[in-house]
Amino acid sequence: MSFSWAKHYEPKSDLTKWLDERLPLPRLVYGAIGGGYPVPRNLNYFWNFGVLAGIALVIQIVTGIIMAMHYAPNALVAFDSTEHIMRDVNWGWMLRYAHANGASFFFIVVYIHIFRGLYFSSYKAPREMIWLLGLVIFLLMMATAFMGYVLPWGQMSFWGAKVITGLFGAIPLVGEPIQQWLLGGYAPDNAALNRFFSLHYLLPFVIAGVVILHIWALHIPGSSNPTGVEVKSESDTVPFHPYYTAKDGFGLGVFLILFCAVLFFAPNMLGHPDNYIPANPLSTPAHIVPEWYFWPFYAILRAFTFDFFIVPAKLLGVLAMFASILLLFFLPWLDRSPVRSGNYRPLFRTFFIVLVIDVLILGYLGGAPAEEPYVMLSQLASAYYFAHFLIILPIISKIEKPKPLPFSITEAVLGKDSHGTAGGPALQPAE
């Protein structure tokens, strides 16, 4: 782990020496996020989003645990207890708005974090495991957020639970039993609400555990960087503390300003008004949509309105939706270009931008009603999404001629590097 020039922890006082011999926790922290962890000197602000995601998780856990002290997971009173948090509990409104908007900000941060990985090909060797663990976290987050959204037991909560568990009903033969098993009944009711609460409380801590594995895997090769050229010597790195603690601190300030702006001035902007109506099993809201962060996937789900051979439309939609995420697990082996950073891959860069636009369009379509022209556009945008990863990316990595890479990070930053010179080998394979 880490580079040979990494500084070692030296306990100064008698107390820290005593502790270091018995439980070297300060040593662990020093080596992980302190002066003992060398990091490429050229990281840009896109490298802030991992730390921000960690902070978003902490915000969710703290606000969530406090709300659980006032919330009652019973179908008869869940809605009222949520309103009790909003109206009666001291600062309850702030905690709940922080939790609901915190989920949105968590997803914004994580989406930027994922697209950072896509652009700089952070998923390539030797960082595949970091990428795969990240995708596991993403899946867990989606499950957690879905179950959390059911808890207030409003109309959107109820019908969201119904529609999402209905996805499993699409599985041939065993679908319906699975759906009933998930819900503990024929429709969402107390049994479903209780288990969702139990799991909604548990999963964030599972996420925290996978985050630790994610960072462990990261600390073996260390962070990648905007050039994609691996660290070669000490002049390529700076210690995490104070350099990146400061940079991350600045990013955190900006994040908190934006978060507070929404939390205090537009707390319902990202929510749906129908969820302020208590759940009614006999009437579906006219326009049901999931939370915005699921929209791109919802658009893919709804794009399949036709049967294909013997596969019914409903099953196709469900398979495509899951496939759109599972596909990303294979990305390290689909993109074979030896160059990492999109900055040196002109063709890749163009198609990356098209992909970002495509996903934004899918997001818009997922929130739109299920009518034309939206359905047809969802079909086109979904087709492009899959084509990007399965066709375009492998072809680009074959035909593209990358720009010359700098010899080292130091050269990229300072224009020269005493360890080597510019105009070295034009193309360096990823190490």
Partner: protein, 190 residues
């Protein structure tokens, strides 16, 4: 594996001609025993999530249908899910019978979906077979879709006057629950 001779402390020897040592056997038996035991613990852990006895106990409902005039429908609840009970008009029955059954996505005739001699009483779950929304068309004034039956607003499924799927993403007709007539005016669902 070659033939093995195991010497025990008391000087006796165990010769296993098939090459399986006593210790291997004990090892496999113990691990299998633990494996089967562990796996069987999963059964209660998994089935506790299936519908509980009280949920299953709610599984039958009696409804008085005397007030439902031809052309009207009522909504009731069965297993916490909406049920539509519809008194079809002769025109609606004719419209349903006119459709060639083979041309349907989920081929079923109105006869197969109703009780003998009471073809006008169409009893279905009010649960769209796509992802489970409640279709519109049972209550007065709700839109009934392109085929005069039900319309699901969630992703646009249209059902005809026999509540059969005609257009949109839903794969199946609205489900007809098990039901029987207790008298001419009372039906029992479930």
């Amino acid at each position: 594996m070659a033939e093995q001779v195991t010497m025990y402390q008391d000087g006796s020897a165990a010769v296993e001609s098939d090459g399986v040592r006593r210790r291997d056997f004990i090892n496999i038996a113990a691990v299998s025993f633990a494996g089967v035991g562990g796996a069987s613990v999963l059964i209660p852990l998994i089935t506790q999530m299936a519908p509980s006895k009280d949920v299953l106990a709610l599984s039958s409902t009696e409804v008085d249908i005397s007030a439902v005039q031809p052309g009207q429908a009522i909504k009731t609840v069965f297993r916490k899910q909406p049920v539509f009970i519809r008194n079809l008009t002769p025109a609606e029955i004719a419209a349903a019978d006119k459709v060639p059954v083979d041309s349907l996505r989920d081929p079923q005739s109105l006869e197969e979906r109703t009780v003998d001699g009471k073809k006008n009483w169409l009893v279905t779950l009010g649960v769209c077979t796509h992802l489970g929304c409640v279709p519109l068309g049972a209550a007065q004034g709700e839109i009934k879709g392109e085929f005069g039956g039900y319309f699901c607003p969630c992703h646009g499924s249209h059902y005809d006057t026999a509540a059969r799927i005609r257009k949109g993403p839903a794969p199946k007709n609205l489900e007809v629950p098990e039901f029987s007539f207790l008298s001419d005016t009372v039906i029992k669902i479930g």
